[in-house]
């Protein structure tokens, strides 16, 4: 169904076997490649082709016998809730990705300077161990309107504000959901970036200090450029997370109120798949794939270029 492509393995590309007796080198190479090729064909190439085929069919109730050309695509793109979903995904892309990286970097840099670094990192990483569904349920309670249940509104009540209908107000709902996503992913970013920071050799930092650089200059001129590659890899991962984002809005709002918090994957599921409209659903999946292709190309280039976390 939703074919989210994995980065293409690049393992066997650099093999240059010295020809020996027996099989010619081309056949040997092919034999070594075969297991990976079969897996790719079965789990990547076939589903993509099959989804493309499904996306040009009416496909009602799993019955693929009515070719409709590009109708599904036109139909999907004209649906108002799909347009809202695209806008919401862009909101997620901007705020979720940047804030997660920001928090990850700040926590990693600050934690490195204290003795109880591992404790801080463990605490920040903890939400990663919670399934996104459970995360959604927990935060649904936190956001409850009734201050007797909703922690956030209880806190606002103490300072004489609110209650705010976090999940019922179209003005707040996306911010509320993105905050949950950030809470769930900041730990991941912290751990990745912390590992990258550890890779910077202390001599460089000491040399800079000896030359009279202050800590801000060290951060901006040395640390940041040296972790730019891990940051970009992290950003790609987060972008992929956003495009296939489903669980948090599904559990917390079902895309509501109205369609204020719909995202593409939820739209795909709710409007199309659970309504038995497999053709339209396949079209949404293809659109998601098209959105992801540039990200994937970027990612694969990064992998090829060598140094990866």
């Amino acid at each position: 169904m939703a074919t989210v492509p994995q980065p293409i393995p690049t393992t066997a590309t650099t093999t240059s076997p010295s020809p020996r007796r027996g099989l010619p080198s081309g056949v040997t190479a092919l034999l070594f490649l075969l297991p990976a090729l079969i897996l790719l064909l079965v789990f990547l190439v076939y589903p993509v082709i099959s989804t493309l085929r499904m996306s040009v069919d009416r496909g009602l109730g799993g019955n693929f016998s009515r070719f409709v050309g590009l109708d599904n695509y036109i139909n999907v793109l004209q649906t108002p809730s799909f347009q809202t979903a695209i806008i919401n995904n862009i909101l997620w892309l901007i705020f979720y990705t940047s804030i997660v990286i920001f928090f990850g970097l700040v926590i990693a840099v600050v934690a490195m300077r204290v003795r109880y670094e591992s404790i801080i990192k463990a605490v920040v990483f903890l939400p990663m161990a919670i399934a996104a569904t459970a995360l959604g349920v927990i935060w649904t309670f936190v956001y409850q309107l009734d201050p007797n249940i909703g922690l956030l509104n209880a806190l606002l009540g103490v300072v004489g504000l609110g209650p705010v209908s976090w999940l019922g107000d179209p003005a707040w709902v996306n911010a509320a959901l993105i905050a949950v996503g950030i809470w769930g992913s900041a730990g991941f970013a912290t751990v990745i970036l912390s590992a990258a920071l550890k890779g910077i050799s202390p001599e460089i930092l000491e040399a800079a200090r000896t030359d009279g650089a202050n800590e801000f200059q060290i951060f901006w001129r040395i640390i940041l450029p040296m972790v730019s590659l891990p940051i970009s890899v992290l950003a790609v991962t987060l972008v992929v997370n956003v495009v296939k984002l489903f669980d948090i809005p599904y559990v917390m709002t079902q895309g509501g109120p109205g369609d204020a918090s719909r995202v593409i994957a939820l739209e795909f599921y709710k409007q199309d798949f659970s309504a038995g409209q497999f053709g339209k659903a396949a079209a949404v999946a293809v659109i998601m794939l098209v959105i992801l292709i540039p990200v994937m190309i970027f990612n694969v280039r990064r992998f090829r270029s060598g140094s990866v976390v």
């Binding site: 009416r58 009734d146 999940l167």
Partner: protein
């Protein structure tokens, strides 16, 4: 890290393939003992084997799926136990709590459906019937005409697709019940409202007596709004216009629709609802019940179907007393032809296979035995005519059964009647109560619903 993940996909994929083959490959004959009849259903079997007694097979095992859990599942289990005692066949219940239709659809598509499904929503019933996913009742060897006498007129109609009976309603709830706190009303010196205007003045009376937001609303679950709209539309325009609206001929741009929405918006207001409209849009159905009937109530009235009673007294607040702190009145009248009609939401039983035991189970579910056993649990109202009022364990359920039995017309939940591919009516209404442009929303909705009806053909 990425590399190790990639290697892990291999064993996972292998497991997936193996399990897919094992579940999809065998079409689950699932007949329990050796005494089962020849596959293909006894009606088709040309009398070769020594057929068991007239009552049909015994010792068969079938699977039944529906979306109940918790107390509702326990109630249904009593029915299954009685089925075993009466016929000697075993029916195993599989709960599918969420995404019921989606999972059922994929089980049908993959060729390993459960034997029997009890489903809400006629759109899916029609879709599955037309795609061949479910069997005709007559294919099981049951004569549909023989069932008519068991039910009040009209109860079997929702289960018919293109004139053929595919589903049989096995339980329902009234949706014309308006829940209230009798203690709060008598404290305010108010009486139960008869008309919609009475309801409005009741709300202002309660407000003047210190209840700031008397009308609880759980609009995060958008189906509560579809029920509000349906009740008002039914009462304003009568059962025939109601049925037409939720049929392929329905016109959502008709002025009657906007009129009903205006009436709805005249009581669902920022002033009447706890937390205002945006507040209510963040409150789920059960939390809405708690607003009126919970330990710290902030409201006195709550509109939803007859099932509110069981959830309120069994789950939300066990100290509620029927008649004192919880009760319901008929949904207020508008002076139109629909005032004495009742709307119901019901579940239809349908056969997905013709395995031995399926016919027996479906037949059993149409009997007074199953109806009485189920009704006694207090979880449902039985559509079987012979189930008496004394079968219901409490006054709320008795009253509910009597309301529907005494209604001048019974109509089926409209949003459950729309095609499976129709746009989300609840989401549309969530936008309406936020004050968005009703005419624009209705015209978009209208064309999408029309498209979905024509797709269904």
């Amino acid at each position: 890290m990425a590399k190790s993940l990639r290697f892990m996909t291999l064993p996972i994929a292998a497991v997936m393939i193996v399990s897919a083959c094992s579940s999809g490959g065998t079409p689950a004959p699932s007949a329990g003992g050796g005494t089962s009849a020849a596959p293909g259903g006894e009606s088709a079997a040309p009398g070769g084997e020594s057929a068991p007694a007239a009552s049909g097979v015994t010792g068969a095992t079938i699977t039944v799926t529906s979306l109940w859990g918790g107390s509702e599942q326990e109630a249904f289990q009593k029915v299954l136990d009685d089925f075993k005692a009466k016929t000697g066949n075993t029916a195993t219940y599989q709960a599918q709590r969420t995404d019921y239709a989606t999972v059922l659809q994929s089980k049908i598509t993959s060729g390993s459906p459960p034997d029997v499904a009890i489903m809400p929503g006629l759109g899916f019933l029609r879709q599955f019937a037309r795609s061949g996913g479910i069997k005709k009742i007559s294919d099981l060897g049951i004569d549909p005409a023989s069932l008519e006498a068991n039910y009040p007129p009209g109860i079997l109609d929702p289960g018919k697709v293109d004139g053929e009976l595919y589903g049989i309603m096995v339980k329902f709830n009234s949706k014309s019940t308006f829940w209230y706190r009798p203690d709060k009303l008598s404290a305010a010196g108010a009486t139960v409202p008869k008309s919609f205007d009475d309801l409005k003045s009741l709300i202002s009376t309660l407000q003047s007596k210190g209840s700031a937001t008397p009308l609880a609303l759980g609009a995060k679950d958008s189906w509560t709004l579809t029920d509000w709209f349906e009740e008002i539309y039914l009462r304003q325009n009568g059962p025939d216009a109601y049925k037409k609206l939720f049929s392929p001929d329905g016109d959502w741009t008709d002025p009657t629709v906007a009129t009903a929405l205006d009436a709805m918006k005249s009581v669902i207001t920022n002033q009447n609802v706890p937390g205002g409209i945006t507040g209510a849009l963040g409150v789920a159905f059960t939390d809405g019940i708690a607003q009126a009937f919970g330990a710290n109530p902030s409201a006195d009235l709550y509109y939803e179907g007859g099932f509110v009673g069981g959830i309120a007294t069994g789950q939300v607040n066990k100290s509620l007393e029927i008649g004192k702190t919880i009760d319901w009145f008929d949904f207020p009248a508008f002076g139109g032809s629909g005032d004495t009609a009742a709307e119901i939401g019901g579940d239809e039983i349908a056969a997905l296979t013709t395995n031995p035991g399926v016919k027996e189970f479906i037949q059993y579910m149409t009997t007074v035995d199953s109806g009485t056993t189920w009704a006694k649990t207090g979880a449902i109202i039985s559509p079987v005519k012979a189930v008496g009022a004394d079968a219901y364990p409490n006054d709320l359920a008795k009253k509910e059964a009597a309301q529907v039995a005494g209604a001048s017309a019974v109509v089926y939940d409209g949003s459950d009647t729309l095609p499976a591919g129709a746009p989300d009516m609840g989401a549309m209404l969530q936008k309406v109560i936020q004050g968005q442009d009703t005419a624009g929303l209705l015209s978009t909705f209208n064309s999408a619903v029309k498209q979905a009806w024509s797709d269904e053909k």
